[in-house]
């Protein structure tokens, strides 16, 4: 009896203290919590543009790499705090659709978008925004200094001359890394693709956490060649880095940055407004500032410093296959390459 009494006193004291401390920290009702994998430097611009037309809504970004966002959402499941998932790979959204987390919704004006960019169901569970496309970033200054030829194809990257000079994103954490691996498997079939990755692995300096880092490292010459995506290379070139963005001859993988509503979202109304805004022509114009291929037909203008023929080299990407096989591919990849110091398995 006494212990109970004491326990009560203790916990009520603790409770009062904690409650006092919590007060200032509860998220405001008007906040829209957006889970995203879009490059962080773009987010402020998007938020400003949206909030200009919807001043009563404030966006709270939760940003991480594609792989991590995907894992986070899968783990959080229906308890997720996200109101909307925005700018995540379509492959990932397919997984989340299977997991029953997504709320189908047809944003106002979605019919104007290219059909290929939108989920086939009606109403669609996810809507594509723009395509991000694999590319190779090459530091021309360092390549020259180290006597490295500019690689033209994926196959070139396995040449011994590049040993230790290549960085690539880890497909388990990075969406770009995954679309590379997925595209190689789709283009060449399992056997040839894994053989290629075995050879590539010998030349890799480090695997990075995010998909943009290889290109940034290439830009600084830390590693002269980075397997990354086109936007990053072009952006760095624009900033003055000696980066050449190469679209390999065999074809390039790509994925759609897409959005989807979340079931049981606390702020569903705001999420819908954000979805409606995301399919407008004006917003697609903003997408185009960085990406060459966007969902709204007729908006896309060529982006400076992009490889000229990039969109032609985009492979026929089977998102469904990629989503279904994602877990298996990542497990195999991890087994083969996760620890560089491990003896390689044949």
């Amino acid at each position: 009896m006494t212990t109970q009494y004491l326990g009560k006193i203790g916990s009520s004291v603790l409770g009062v203290v904690l409650a006092g401390m919590c007060l200032g920290n509860v998220a405001k009702a008007g906040d829209l919590i957006v889970y995203t994998a879009v490059e962080p430097e773009e987010l402020t611009g998007f938020a400003k543009a949206f909030e200009a037309t919807n001043p009563d809504i404030k966006i709270k970004w939760v940003r991480d790499s594609t792989g991590i966002m995907t894992a986070k959402l899968l783990a959080e499941g229906k308890n997720t705090r996200a109101d909307i998932i925005w700018g995540l790979a379509a492959t990932s959204l397919l997984l989340l659709k299977d997991a029953g987390i997504l709320e189908p919704y047809a944003p106002k004006g979605v019919e104007k978008l290219d059909k290929l960019f939108v989920d086939g169901d009606s109403p669609p569970s996810w809507v594509g925004q723009r395509a991000w496309i694999a590319s190779i970033c090459v530091n021309t200054v360092e390549a020259k200094a180290k006597n490295l030829p500019i690689p033209k194809s994926w196959a070139d990257l396995t040449k011994p001359v590049y040993k230790g000079h290549i960085v690539m994103p880890n497909p388990a954490s990075s969406g770009t890394g995954f679309l590379d691996v997925s595209s190689w498997l789709q283009m060449w079939g399992e056997e040839k693709a894994w053989k290629f990755m075995d050879d590539l692995h010998k030349n890799i300096g480090v695997y990075t956490h995010s998909g943009s880092k290889p290109c940034k490292m290439a830009g600084k010459g830390e590693f002269p060649i980075g397997v990354s995506f086109a936007y990053k290379g072009a952006q760095l070139k624009a900033k003055g880095a000696p980066v050449l963005t190469v679209a390999p001859t065999e074809g390039v993988g790509w994925d759609l940055e897409s959005f989807a509503l979340v079931k049981g979202a606390k702020n569903a109304a705001a999420a819908k407004k954000f979805a409606d805004w995301s399919v407008t022509r004006e917003t697609n114009v903003i997408y185009n500032q960085a990406y060459a291929v966007v969902a709204y037909p007729g908006v896309a203008k060529p982006v400076k410093f992009f490889p000229a023929d990039l969109s032609k080299k985009m492979i026929k990407n089977d998102f469904l296959w990629a989503a279904k096989n994602r877990k298996r591919i990542l497990a195999e990849w991890k087994k083969r390459y996760d620890s560089k110091s491990l003896p390689k398995k044949k």
Binding site: L43, S173, G205, K216, E222
Partner: protein, 576 residues
């Protein structure tokens, strides 16, 4: 009626617990409530989360009990087991190198007549002010493939064990040095006189007097070095490349793959060496106390040209290393585009351009660190006061003391992980704190509790233990005396503990990396994220902001303490 006439048979013999509790005075109730709340707080914020971690390790991802299956899976995966070997190798080597370097440095400070001893000592505290990510980032600029002095590596890569070790040596140096300096200062000069009179040469004296005299300190320093290295996550995350260690494994399992059960398993594996080190350290500390004699005569080194010059040269080199690392980060944050455009710019400090939570993460850190310092010091002072000065409730008090020692043995990553498991459960009423600033503050206080608690305890131990008795006899409640007497006397220690909490809260990554939310992202985590996406210059800039904040806080603290001591502490000087 005399006392003897009273019916004593009604109150026979010893009192039951219940009777004792009924007999408690108001003050005892206040004290009891205080101790019980503190115990409850540490149970809820430390023991129960750790228990959740433990139970998570024996569950599958759906929450069903699977016994040791996760452990089996862990030990059958070659990559993960390899990490154990890697972690032990790195921690072992770093421990040896750091201890040797710190010993020589400390030897120079305590046992030589070289100049600038105070300066060296101050310089050696630089790493404390920075997050552990900073040395790793700097090393990439110095020794990476485009590094300024990469020739020193003779073709080896910095991305891997070499980088981790150099980064760790920078990061743990001040901690190891502090213990070494203490160990070498507390020697008895008479031992040296005796050895010299007996005709022992300097080498023999070194091995028969110096080393044995400092041995407990050396062991203690080694243990700290080992634990800090094996549990740190910032350095291997940034520069480890494909060289996996336990700390990065936890991060990968939990953040990268959201595989919480496996994360819990790795967490428990990481808990073992930390616990082991903790036990050794406690054991050694006990022995060390017995070794010190109150009548020891302090050692005063005599000038010795060769030795002094050699030690001076060493200390200069070591200081250059420390300053060099910090300087590189500062430089990296100011260069427009390394290594092609070396013009200077402040553009990288415009964090909002690369991260929507850029500057706000810094303000969050400031807020978190201030709350941690203020709330932490109050709780820690009360806890130490109850343990040292409390009356009655002996078992509760010693129980609380044991709880307070526990955080030392729990690595930050493990604590953070345990917090996810415990606080994210919707059925836990405390889950209202999840993803708030509150949980970051509480987690950080718990993370750094032990050292603060011990420091406070030492200060309180020096206060006459009869103050409470005097106060009670004068019918002044204990809390009044605590506020009027103990707090003013402990003020230097209180402010030191606040400083310690503030700086650590500014720089820590390991525990909070699992429990921050978009609203409560911290500066040190921004450093991590910015480095992750390749914005290294911005990461350096944010790390520098953290360093500058720590330095500013330290300087302010020094100034305030100085003026305060001048005005309010006349009693500290002996005037008569």
């Amino acid at each position: 009626m005399t006392a003897l006439d009273q019916p004593r048979s009604l109150i026979p013999g010893p009192l039951s617990t219940l009777q004792r509790i009924r007999n408690l005075g108001t003050e005892s109730w206040i004290m009891l409530a205080g101790i019980v709340s503190l115990c409850a707080a540490l149970l809820a914020l430390l023991v129960m989360p750790l228990y959740s971690l433990l139970s998570k390790a024996v569950e599958d991802d759906k929450g069903a009990f699977v016994g040791l299956a996760n452990f089996q899976e862990y030990f059958s995966s070659a990559g993960l087991v390899q990490s154990i070997g890697n972690s032990l190798t790195i921690a072992g080597l770093t421990m040896v190198i750091a201890c040797v370097l710190a010993f020589i440095f400390a030897y120079g400070i305590t046992r030589s007549c070289m100049p600038f001893k105070r300066t060296f000592r101050a310089l050696a505290t630089i790493p404390i002010l920075a997050p552990s990510l900073l040395p790793a980032i700097s090393l990439i600029y110095l020794l990476g493939n485009q590094g300024m002095i990469k020739g020193l590596l003779f073709g080896e890569t910095i991305y891997g064990p070499i980088g981790i070790m150099i980064g760790m040596i920078f990061y743990i140096f001040p901690h190891v040095l502090m213990i070494m300096v203490t160990a070498l200062s507390t020697t008895d000069a008479r031992l040296y006189e005796a050895a010299e009179v007996l005709g022992a040469g300097p080498v023999r004296i070194f091995f028969t007097v110096t080393i044995p005299g400092a041995i407990y300190g050396i062991v203690s320093a080694a243990v700290i070095a080992f634990t800090l290295t094996i549990t740190d996550f910032g350095v291997p995350k940034v520069i480890g490349g494909q060289y996996n260690v336990l700390a990065t494994d936890i991060y990968k399992q939990v953040i990268g793959q959201q595989n919480f059960s496996m994360g819990a398993v790795v967490g428990l594996v990481l808990l073992l060496p930390a616990m082991f080190s903790f036990v050794i350290d406690r054991h050694v500390k006990k022995k060390q106390v017995a070794l010190l004699s109150a009548r020891a005569v302090p050692y005063h080194p005599k000038p010795h040209k060769v030795r002094d010059r050699a030690l001076l040269a060493f200390c200069v080199l070591m200081s250059l290393f420390l300053i060099g690392i910090l300087g590189t980060a500062a430089f990296a944050s100011l260069v427009t585009f390394w290594p092609y455009d070396l013009s200077l710019t402040l553009a990288h400090y415009d964090f909002d351009a690369v991260d929507p939570n850029g500057w706000s993460s810094f303000y969050n850190s400031l807020k978190m660190a201030s709350f941690t310092a203020v709330v932490g010091v109050v709780v820690i002072f009360l806890g130490a006061y109850f343990v040292e000065k409390g009356r009655g409730f002996g078992r509760l008090r010693s129980g609380f003391h044991m709880l307070a020692m526990l955080p030392m043995a729990v690595p930050g990553l493990v604590l953070g992980l345990a917090y996810i498991f415990f606080f994210s459960r919707p059925e836990n009423p405390l889950s209202v704190m999840y993803s708030t600033m509150t949980i970051l503050v509480l987690c950080t206080i718990v993370h750094f509790y032990t050292v603060s608690h011990l420091t406070m305890l030492t200060a309180l131990k020096q206060i006459d233990k009869e103050f409470e008795s005097v106060s009670a006899s004068l019918k002044v409640p204990f809390y009044k005396t605590m506020l009027r007497v103990h707090v003013p006397i402990c003020l230097p220690t209180i402010s030191e503990v606040m400083m310690y909490l503030f700086v650590n809260a500014m720089t820590t990554v390991s525990a909070v990396v699992f429990i921050y939310s978009p609203d409560t992202k911290l500066a040190a985590i921004s450093v991590l994220n910015m480095d992750d996406v390749g914005d290294t210059a911005e990461a350096s800039a944010m790390a520098m902001i953290i360093v500058l904040t720590s330095v500013t806080a330290k300087l302010l603290h020094g100034l305030i303490m100085k003026s305060f001591t001048a005005r309010h502490s006349a009693w500290r000087q002996r005037t008569g």
